[in-house]
């Protein structure tokens, strides 16, 4: 039986990198708004480039030193999020390699082990796969205009990456993070089911600017938190296939 559709934000940053909120604050912020899942995906910059070195120097990147601490806090906060809000917290990180000519941002969901960012693009995907991670395209810039971008930045599109799945990205390092695009899911609330739904592209997307979270009556007489879109309850929203990636070819 399919669940009511629920919202997930699978691309968020905490104070471990460029986020404004700590991990517990993120959990509370999303939990109180009725989200079913979040993935905390702090940036992991490479060491070699100038941007990577700067990010590490300014504490705007995960490092080899902070990664185990990050994972421990995610573990303990995932337990709390489930007991307090019935919300799944998926551990992850975003591998960032950047320069003006070539930039790679690869989101790794379900990541619990350290994956160095200093690999080539192909090796990055292979390394993520070897670690059992789900590699996801990040930063689809013109999502609102329904023109999804490929997984790499415009300067460097890789056709090989076109098979990667896509999720909504709300740029949560900014103040208005809560009102951006979110992923809509109807699967069971578990990490495995969520990652499977993304792999199978069995997800939808919703701009929460247009959506209000609202209480709706449940069959058992209680109330649940649901999505209301322009006054209409989206209780029977079918899961839509993920948008196809533009390979640029």
């Amino acid at each position: 039986m399919k669940e009511m559709p629920w919202l997930a934000d699978l691309h968020t940053y905490s104070t471990f990198s460029i986020g404004k909120l700590s991990i517990p604050q993120l959990v509370d912020a999303y939990g109180r708004r009725g989200f079913g899942a979040i993935a905390i995906t702090d940036l992991f910059y490479e060491r070699g480039s100038l941007s990577g070195r700067s990010a590490r120097l300014l504490n705007r990147s995960l490092t080899e030193a902070t990664f185990p601490l990050y994972m421990e806090i995610l573990r303990s906060e995932a337990r709390r999020a489930w007991y307090q809000y019935s919300m799944v917290v998926i551990p992850g990180f975003e591998i960032a390699r950047g320069s003006r000519r070539s930039s790679v941002h690869l989101l790794c969901l379900g990541g619990r082990e350290f994956a160095p960012a200093d690999l080539s693009k192909t090796d990055l995907i292979q390394s993520a796969s070897d670690h059992g991670l789900l590699a996801v395209a990040t930063n689809p810039r013109s999502f609102k205009s329904r023109k999804p971008h490929g997984p790499w930045s415009e300067n460097d599109r890789a056709p090989a990456s076109s098979e990667l799945p896509l999720i909504a990205s709300s740029q949560p390092e900014k103040r208005a993070w809560i009102s951006g695009w979110k992923t809509v899911l109807t699967c069971e609330r578990s990490e495995h089911a969520i990652l499977s739904a993304i792999r199978e592209r069995n997800v939808g997307f919703q701009d929460t600017m247009e959506v209000k979270l609202d209480l709706f009556p449940r069959a058992d007489g209680g109330h649940g938190l649901g999505l209301r879109h322009r006054g209409r309850l989206l209780g029977d929203l079918p899961a839509r296939p993920a948008l196809r990636l533009d390979t640029g070819s």
């Binding site: 905490s14 490092t63 030193a65 185990p68 601490l69 421990e72 806090i73 303990s76 906060e77």
Partner: protein
């Protein structure tokens, strides 16, 4: 800024505001070796004015010369709930954390105070420290004041501790870069477990700094206790002083390289020279007069910090404050010239982020 904030911190009288006050707590005392004044230092923890606490001493080796002193004190104060744990647990390259693992695991209470063996405290220390704890606070630390300095190295050490480090704690706090001093850390074990507890810190040389960072990453605050703790300084030679501050400097550099890079520009001679040049160029101010006035104001700030911390001032302090300023630039250069530190006879390499490579002998 540091002088003003420090003066306001220690000058204000605050009423206890925390519900945490008088919660039973466990004091963990990692000890290594029988340093001068150890007995007097430890005695102050047997006579604290606090309703309920336990004292847990830990020695990595059974044959440690501090053992008879601790056992003697435990016999002398039978009413105090105190015990001694022998043997450490090798969880990482940081020997202090290894020595703390067993007492940390065996502590009876949720409230933990980690306190080094080379400090002394006042009777009301725990009451004042716990009063700082509010729900949004993760860790309460303290300013360390060097006292009983008798040798040249110890005078310099006191000048560094009682001006530079004390002031920097408050400047860093103003920029939300709080420093935690491992000689006195009060926190909740249940909170520390949220980041993996003590064993997470064993990979770092500055476990105190990382404890503070971890608390901040949990969204909690670092606070400084309203009472400094006293550290009697041993008979330091100049080399001991230099080696110790070289280690601290390299730890700071590994943990927070950016502020350390700018350190010389906020010490007396470089900042005075820069200011003298700037004012001479822009406003035709006599650079010599500028530098003299700048130095006098600087010294007045130093003496004000010492007065706030120690409540006494002696004339020889002026000489050592100036000597500290002269030494700060060569020290800074030495700090940036390498990454290895010498800690209790072991040579270690500190990596960026404060991670420690396993000790190498030689």
């Amino acid at each position: 800024m540091g002088t003003f904030r420090l003066g306001r911190h220690f000058g204000s009288t605050r009423a206890p505001e925390s519900a945490v006050e008088r919660q039973p707590l466990s004091i963990l005392k990692p000890v290594k070796g029988s340093e001068p004044g150890l007995r007097e230092n430890l005695t102050t923890f047997f006579s604290l004015d606090y309703p309920s606490y336990e004292l847990i001493f830990s020695l990595a080796e059974e044959s440690d010369p501090a053992r008879p002193i601790i056992e003697d004190l435990m016999r002398e104060f039978p009413s105090i709930d105190a015990r001694l744990i022998l043997g450490d647990v090798k969880i990482g390259p940081n020997p202090k954390v290894n020595n703390l693992i067993r007492p940390y695991r065996q502590a009876k209470y949720d409230w933990i105070l980690i306190s080094d063996s080379n400090v002394r405290v006042e009777r009301d220390y725990l009451r004042k420290k716990t009063a700082e704890f509010t729900p949004e606070v993760g860790i309460v630390t303290a300013v360390v004041v060097g006292v009983d300095d008798e040798t040249f190295g110890a005078h310099l050490e006191a000048a560094f501790l009682n001006t530079f480090y004390a002031r920097w704690m408050f400047i860093a706090a103003a920029f939300r870069q709080d420093c935690v001093v491992g000689k006195s850390m009060l926190f909740r074990k249940s909170t520390a477990e949220r980041f993996g507890g003590m064993s997470q810190l064993g990979r770092f040389l500055a476990e105190d700094y990382m404890a503070g960072q971890a608390m901040k990453l949990l969204g909690l605050k670092v606070k400084i206790a309203p009472l400094p703790i006293r550290q009697p300084l041993p008979q330091y030679a100049f080399q001991d002083f230099w080696r110790r501050h070289l280690r601290w400097g390299r730890i700071r550099k590994a943990q927070a390289p950016l502020p350390v890079f700018f350190e010389p520009w906020i010490s007396l001679i470089p900042s005075g020279s820069l200011g003298a040049f700037a004012f001479a160029t822009v406003a035709a101010v006599d650079p010599v007069w500028f530098f003299v006035c700048h130095s006098l104001i600087w010294l007045a700030c130093d003496l004000s910090v010492i007065k706030n911390l120690k409540k006494t001032l002696k004339p020889h302090l002026i000489f050592y404050c100036l000597a500290r300023e002269v030494l700060s630039l060569p020290m800074w250069i030495h700090v940036w010239s390498g990454n290895s530190v010498n800690w209790r006879g072991q040579k270690m390499r500190v990596r960026t982020g404060g991670l420690l490579d396993l000790p190498t002998h030689g």
